[in-house]
């Protein structure tokens, strides 16, 4: 029976992943040793095998956004964190991603955001890609928002943003256009630092 085989396979596959030494991680990220210790402990508590797969990732994310459906957005975030695209996030990938997001420079953060929006990684954000992301974000709000979210809201939102960013009207947003737009927008630059975390 296929289910049995699956279970057998899983049992064979209990991989254990050991991260690099803590000193190396300290060098590669902007976290201190103590912060890394705390983060690793939390990480390993939730994922004893040392690897996060997408389902676990989605589950964790869902706990923070109980009202809506955060699986789509979690999927995109997962793809960005998973630098080598092997389907799992190791602790290094996790920590490096977090280092960029909480301690990185504005440029690095904008790069990360661009990578998030550029779903297929070809260096261009198309309208469809942006629509996907925006829909995913709206999904996280869920149905019970006030004022309620209309069907067209994501579409309209994408139109607005695209208008702002796509300077040469070629239907795609390149990394330079993206960076330029964001750096010139005071709101965005200020908001980027809101999420810096002190552990």
């Amino acid at each position: 029976m296929p289910v049995e085989n699956e279970i057998d396979d899983l049992e064979m596959q209990v991989m254990r992943y050991k991260p690099e030494g803590i000193d190396e991680l300290v060098r590669n990220t902007k976290f201190t040793k103590k912060e890394l210790q705390i983060m690793y402990r939390g990480f390993k508590q939730e994922c004893p095998t040392g690897l996060v797969n997408e389902d676990a990732f989605k589950e964790i994310y869902a706990q923070f956004f109980p009202q809506g459906d955060s699986s789509a957005y979690a999927h995109y975030v997962f793809n960005v964190f998973d630098a080598d695209h092997n389907g799992t996030i190791s602790f290094e990938e996790f920590v490096i991603g977090l280092s960029v997001l909480s301690r990185g420079s504005l440029n690095e953060k904008l790069m990360w955001a661009f990578k998030l929006y550029d779903i297929n990684g070809d260096g261009y954000i198309t309208k469809e890609e942006m629509l996907d992301i925006v829909k995913a974000i709206y999904d996280m709000m869920g149905k019970y928002a006030d004022p309620p979210i209309s069907e067209n809201a994501p579409g309209d939102h994408v139109e607005r943003v695209f208008q702002k960013m796509d300077k040469n009207r070629d239907g795609v947003v390149t990394i330079d256009e993206f960076m330029e737009t964001c750096k010139n927008d005071e709101n965005i630059t200020k908001s980027m630092s809101v999420f810096d975390t002190i552990l």
Binding site: I38, M39, V77, S102, A113, L116, I137, V161, I188, S191
Partner: protein, 630 residues
Amino acid sequence: MAAVAAWLPFARAAAIGWVPIAANPMPAPPLQERQKGEDEKLGINVSGRRFETWRNTLEKYPDTLLGSPERDFFYDDETKEYFFDRDPDIFRHILNFYRTGKLHYPKSECISAYDEELAFFGIMPDIIGDCCYEDYKDRKRENAERLMDDQVSEAGDTVQPMTLREKMWRAFEDPHTSTLALVFYYVTGFFIAVSVMANVVETVPCGPKPGKTENLPCGERYALAFFCLDTACVMIFTAEYLLRLFAAPNRCLFMRSVMSIIDVVAILPYYIGLGITDNDDVSGAFVTLRVFRVFRIFKFSRHSQGLRILGYTLKSCASELGFLLFSLTMAIIIFATVMFYAEKNVASTKFTSIPAAFWYTIVTMTTLGYGDMVPDTWAGKIVGGICSLSGVLVIALPVPVIVSNFSRIYHQNQRADKRKAQKQARLARIRIAKNASGAHFINKKKKEQDREDKIKQGIDIEEEPKDSRFESQHHHLLRCLENTTGPDLHARYIKDREFVEMEYTYNGLAAPKAQSSPPTPSPSQSSQGNPVESSCCSRRRGKYQFARSVSDTGQELNDIQIAVPNKTSSKTHLNASEPPKINSTNTTVTTSAIITTPTPGTTSDTEESMMTVSTTTSPGNSNIVRISTL
């Protein structure tokens, strides 16, 4: 939620993705100073076994004892750890709950001990993980059933039926309560047996009536005798039914119960038979009615617990039985159809129709094989073979379920009965042990008192081990109680009120050890005769354990005993018998001592009635403490 608190920084960081498309600036983040001691380790000492964990781990669940400031009550400043005087083995599981978020129930622990620990640490049992929840619930249910059983039987023991009706009902339900009930039980059982036997014997051929040649069954030969027997049995059953109906607390419910329906069905044929005349048309129906007389045998289920259990098992296995029936029916129809079509073309075949083939299929599947119908064609034989093989399987499947159900219920019942039987012996043993420790306690108290008396009197004492602080305070407390409830010091003849050996039955009903003969009036007279002495010497009475005056209830006995010569007119000690009672029932005062040693009945009423000249015969049924009225 708290379990993923470690991931919150990540969720916040990932929110950077929203920023480029946000129309408005984000709100400012909450001010966060670095919280001190967030990753601080706490030491928890549970009965000597040391556990350590992060503070964060415990605070994941702030509505429990360990996660809330409530744990500060248990903080030991000297050793800088939290000390709990609880079971360390169970604590391990509780701490794991904080660590992993899942509460497990260890099978080796007693369910009530585990529940207690959970309650102590403020954890809801519903959080138990799926892996252990079923087991937990099962054991909890067993425990609750057992407790309920005990309670019910205890209630049964102590409740005294008041009215005649209740008494009768109890007699019917539980024959062991009185001899009459037992007699009734056996008599009805006997008559049921007689009736059933008569029904059976009726049909046995008895030989021809004198003068005739026909071989008659006994029922027709001795028709009158059998009729009389039947009448007698039915009268007994009717009387029994009416009595039960009268005694039942809820008549409608009783009439709908299975047993009463069986009773009715058992006696109805007789009455209907009386009503029907010897008409040929109806006599056929009448004969059919007689069949229902066999239901009398079910009346035995009141007499046999095993039968009741069997019935209960069948009821509880209704779904399995239903499944058995259903699958058998399916198989029968399939095989009968195939057989019919296989044997259709055989000349003078017995398989004339599918329903006719049903009979063959049933007989074959249950491996009876009468042989009255056999297939002739080889196809039919093959089908017949398959039929018999599958029959064994289909029948064998649900049977173990039914059997195990029966076994479980039967053993449960056995255990309940055993427990009840053992309970009496156990309680008696416990009572004896308590008596012993109670006597020991009283001894100690007396010794301590004597010591103190001697000290006050300046007499040298041998070095004896001093009571612990707790014990001495306890003794003092009891002495105060004696003081409060003691009789008037006028009455010299009265023995000292003291805590005596427990003479009481487990129910706490007093049974006085001995009754001193009541020449009470005269001593009271004599005590009355010295009113002056008694009133002013009441405090100087020797060796009285109590000073009875309203203002003196709190007075230290030591003071009293200083000025008093050793008058031991009524100093009887442990074997103090009850002061005689006059017209009052003993009441018990139970102090919350180490062991429940009921004080000797507060015959304060009786003594009081003796004190005052007027006979205040106070009934005093339920006085706990009476302050004297001098």
